[in-house]
Amino acid sequence: MNEGIITAIRVVPLEHYVILSFLLFSIGIAGVVFRRNTIIILMCLELMFNSVNLLLTAFSAYHSDPRAQVFVFFIMLVAAAEVTVGLAIPGDDEAQRG
C-alpha cells in the first residue's frame, strides 16, 4: 500500500496539480467577487489558501524537500488565527444589527 502511494508521485504529472490548484484559486476569486455574505467570502478565502497549500505540497513532493511542507504548516497556523478574528468581526456586526 505504501509503495503504491509513493509511486503516485511519479505517475501523476506535476502540471495536473498546478492546473488543479489554479482552478481552485480561480473559483475562490470568483466566489469572493460573487458572494455578499461575509462568512462565505471568508470561506472562499480558505479555498484559495488551500489551493496554494496544495501547490506548495506538490512542488515539495516532486523536489523531495520537506521545507515547503513546513511552510504549508505555517500557512495553516496563520489561517486558523485569521479565521478566529475574521469570524468575530461579522459576529459582532450581526449581534449589533439584530
Partner: protein
C-alpha cells in the same frame, strides 16, 4: 493512481463550485468540508501524510466547525443573502475565468523542473517534517505562538466591545 487523482480532483472542483453557488450558508460549509477532505486525499497521494492529518484536524475539525457554530449561533442559516445584479455575477465569473486563463497561459509550455534532491520516500512523513520544523524553523514556530496570543486577545476585545455597546443603544437590559 491516476484514477485516484482524477477522482479527488473532480470531487474538490465540484464541491468548490457548490461552495460558491449554494444559496444556504450551511450547504456551503458542508461542501467546503467535502472539498477539504478531498484535498487531504491529494496530500496522501503526494505522500505528505503529516500534512494530511494536520489538514483534517485543523481545517475539517476546527475551522469548519467554527464556521458552523458562527452560522448557527447567529441564525444566518436562512438564505437571506440579497442577490447581486446580473452584471456583477457575470463580472465575477469573468474575473475568475480570465484569471484562470492568465495562469494557464503562463504555463502553456509546460513545466520542466529538475528535482532538487534525490527521490526520498521519507519526505512528508512526521519525522522529516518535524526535523525540519524544529531545526530550521524553530524561531518562526515560536513567533507563531505570539501570533496566536495576539489573535486571542483581539477576539476577546471584539467580543467584549459588543457588550459595552448594547446598553448605550437604549435597549432594556432585560430584553438584551
Amino acid at each position: 493512481m491516476l484514477a485516484f487523482f482524477y477522482l479527488f480532483a473532480a470531487i474538490s472542483v465540484i464541491s468548490a463550485l457548490i461552495v460558491v453557488s449554494a444559496r444556504s450558508p450551511i450547504n456551503s460549509v458542508i461542501a467546503l468540508v467535502v472539498c477539504f477532505l478531498s484535498i487531504a486525499g491529494h496530500y496522501i497521494l503526494l505522500n505528505a501524510q503529516f500534512l494530511a492529518m494536520v489538514h483534517i484536524i485543523v481545517y475539517t475539525g476546527a475551522i469548519m466547525v467554527l464556521f458552523l457554530f458562527v452560522i448557527m449561533l447567529l441564525n444566518l442559516n436562512k438564505a437571506t443573502e440579497p442577490m447581486k445584479t446580473l452584471g456583477t455575477r457575470v463580472a465575477a465569473v469573468l474575473a475568475g475565468g480570465l484569471f484562470f486563463l492568465t495562469l494557464m497561459a503562463a504555463i502553456r509550455h509546460g513545466i520542466n523542473i529538475t528535482p532538487a534532491n534525490e527521490f526520498d520516500p521519507g519526505v512528508g512523513l512526521v519525522r522529516s517534517v518535524g526535523l525540519s520544523l524544529f531545526k530550521e524553523f524553530l524561531l518562526p514556530f515560536e513567533v507563531s505562538s505570539v501570533l496566536f496570543l495576539s489573535a486571542m486577545v483581539g477576539v476577546v476585545m471584539l467580543a467584549k466591545k459588543e457588550k459595552v455597546v448594547v446598553p448605550k443603544d437604549g435597549v432594556e437590559p432585560s430584553k438584551a
